[in-house]
């Protein structure tokens, strides 16, 4: 009896993943198969879901918004995240390492709405001051906030990857008289390449899926950004901002669920790839 319950709980994760896909898809399916021009949906940058005369659902600008913020966040977070992972795993003593790991854990625990609030109240005036722009809620703001949010995951997974490199590699290199830096550069980075890549991918997944922080920090205009000072709107922020106002089961409402399916698919592929890479490392 109890075994049955345990088995049921064991497969619950599978049920929930399918359940999520099923229910989100179910709400959007009606419009996906009846009325939505899929080609226009994916290639048009015109998002006017509430226009009276000519309703247009094009998510290209939203995808561009998500992509621009994510790319900028990764440009900042990857070097710093990997650098910090290297420092924590190779360059510091035990005490300092424990302290830093705890700090990173706390950094990871800050809720996204608080990050958004920081973007709104701290970053916004700083960006306006430094770059002399009329509004500081833009790609740069969102990118910095997202970078700070995804750095902890890159550090912790990256550190695991470096730790997984066998000590015999280190010993062999040190016996040849290399310095720590040479050891890191010539031995550890090549050996932990896949694990570090997985860390970056998980960071990307986190950045793509982040909602409240980008909703509050990137400004609120649907356009394809041409510079980091442009305001954008991401896929996640669009759902969060418009779902409350869209009448239930209207085309607009269903399109938001279709965007949800799109997001689910993107993060699913990213996570799957990261997982396959990590397992590949372990299998070797």
């Amino acid at each position: 009896m109890i075994e049955l319950v345990i088995r049921l709980c064991g497969i619950s994760a599978i049920l929930f993943v399918f359940g999520i896909f099923f229910f989100v898809f179910r709400e959007g399916a009606g419009f996906l198969f009846g009325g939505l021009n899929l080609r226009e949906f994916l290639t048009s940058p015109e998002w006017y879901p509430t226009s009276e005369r000519h309703v247009r659902y094009g998510v290209l600008a939203l995808i561009a918004g998500t992509a621009s913020v994510t790319v900028l966040a990764m440009l900042l977070a990857v070097p710093f995240g990997i650098g910090a992972a290297i420092f924590v795993s190779e360059f510091c003593g035990n005490r300092l390492r424990e302290t830093l790991k705890i700090t990173i854990e706390l950094l990871a625990a800050i809720p996204s709405v608080v990050w958004g609030f920081i973007g709104l109240t701290v970053m916004n005036p700083i960006i306006m001051e430094v770059f002399h722009v009329p509004i500081g809620l833009n790609v740069l703001n969102g990118g910095i906030i997202l970078a700070l949010m995804s750095v902890p995951i890159i550090v912790s997974i990256g550190e695991d990857a470096l730790k997984a490199v066998p000590d015999s590699y280190r010993e062999a290199a040190l016996a040849l008289g290399v310095t720590r830096w040479q050891l890191v550069y010539r031995v550890l980075l090549p050996a932990a390449k896949n694990g570090l890549l997985a860390a970056v991918l998980l960071g990307v997944g986190r950045a793509v899926g982040e909602t409240m922080a980008v909703l509050m920090a990137t400004g609120h205009s649907v356009n394809i950004p041409t510079s980091v000072m442009d305001s954008v709107r991401t896929l996640t922020a669009t759902i969060a901002a418009e779902l409350g106002e869209a009448p239930a089961h209207s085309p607009h409402y269903q399109v938001l669920f279709i965007i949800g399916v799109l997001l689910f698919t993107i993060t699913f592929v990213i996570n799957l790839t990261a997982d396959l890479i990590v397992r590949g490392v372990r299998g070797r």
Binding site: I20, P111, S112, L272
Partner: protein
């Protein structure tokens, strides 16, 4: 006059230009990596300090125990605070048994095969699903399909599923830390698998499981998007000082959403108010996390095996 003792020293241990260059690059690397790490740690300290300074004038016991008043432009945060407590506790009650048993299955029952692999993959992917997609799922499945309506129950169920992977992962780690010899000793006296789990494995890993549960609390308390469309509302006044002011099928306010609302949706909010809310939210989450870290450190120092 030169004595023979000051004759040129043997040069075996003197640094050559090559060694010096190596040391310089070593030092440079160390400093660069240290700076990178500090640049990551620094924001945490600065942000905490800044928020605390800004919120200082408003923080008081009254702030915690009075409802928001005057269109959320005055008063305290009692109603959202209690709402968050409800959401966290109920989601915890749902997620903990399922999560712990799922981890027991993965660690104690499942064999290494393709099915277990898929379950693990599902856990990883569940952890990676964006919070807004969880919100859509909660809306589609609990609010509409299960006809729970926008309610505390629907929001808690959504949060529970969202935080399930956290509990599964940390419980699995705690269970794996119990040595195999304990289990073998138990099997040898004729105990079944479940008896072994119940009497040996779980008692020996309870603090590790607790760590995961505490982490789940902090995660659930901070989430905004999933509760926004499944149970949380902009404003709802409840009786002050009454712990059971919400019912299971009521809508509630939530601290995270309250912060979002007063910092973006309501005009003319006195600036200290959102800072105060942010500090209470952040303080709760960080305090809960600190608890989990302390439990873990004590556990590690006390472990006998």
């Amino acid at each position: 006059m030169t004595s023979p003792h000051t004759a040129p020293q043997p040069s075996f241990f003197q640094k050559t230009a090559f060694t010096r260059r190596k040391e310089r690059s070593e030092l440079a690397a160390r400093i660069v990596f240290l700076l990178m790490t500090l640049l990551m740690v620094l924001p945490l300290v600065l942000i905490l300090g800044y928020l605390l300074c800004k919120a200082w004038p408003i923080l008081s016991i009254d702030f915690l125990f009075t409802n928001p008043r005057n269109g959320m432009r005055a008063g305290g945060i009692w109603s959202p605070l209690l709402g968050t407590i409800y959401l966290v506790v109920i989601s915890l009650l749902i997620a903990t048994p399922i999560g712990v048993l799922a981890a027991v299955f993965l660690n104690e029952y499942a064999r290494e095969n393709w099915f277990t692999r898929i379950v693990n993959l599902a856990v990883v992917n569940l952890a990676g699903v964006p919070s807004i997609v969880h919100a859509l799922f909660g809306l589609g499945a609990f609010v509409l399909f299960a006809r729970l309506g926008k309610s505390i129950l629907a929001a808690s169920l959504t949060l529970a599923i969202m935080t399930l992977p956290v509990i599964i992962a940390s419980t699995k780690e705690a269970l794996a830390a119990v040595p195999l010899a304990f289990r073998e000793a138990c099997w040898n006296v004729g105990a079944s698998r479940w008896q072994t789990v119940r009497h040996i494995v779980l008692p020996n890993s309870v603090s590790g499981i607790l760590t995961g549960v505490i982490l789940q609390v902090s995660r659930a308390a901070g989430e905004t998007a999933p509760v926004m469309f499944t149970g949380a509302v902009f404003y709802k006044a409840i009786s002050e000082g009454h712990l059971f002011a919400y019912g299971l099928f009521d809508q509630c306010m939530a601290l995270s959403m309250h912060l979002f609302t007063i910092s973006t949706q309501v005009p003319d909010v006195p600036p200290a108010l959102p800072y105060g809310t942010a500090v209470v939210l952040l303080g709760t989450v960080l305090a809960v996390n600190a608890c989990s870290i302390i439990v873990r450190l004590r556990l590690r120092s006390r472990r006998k095996w």
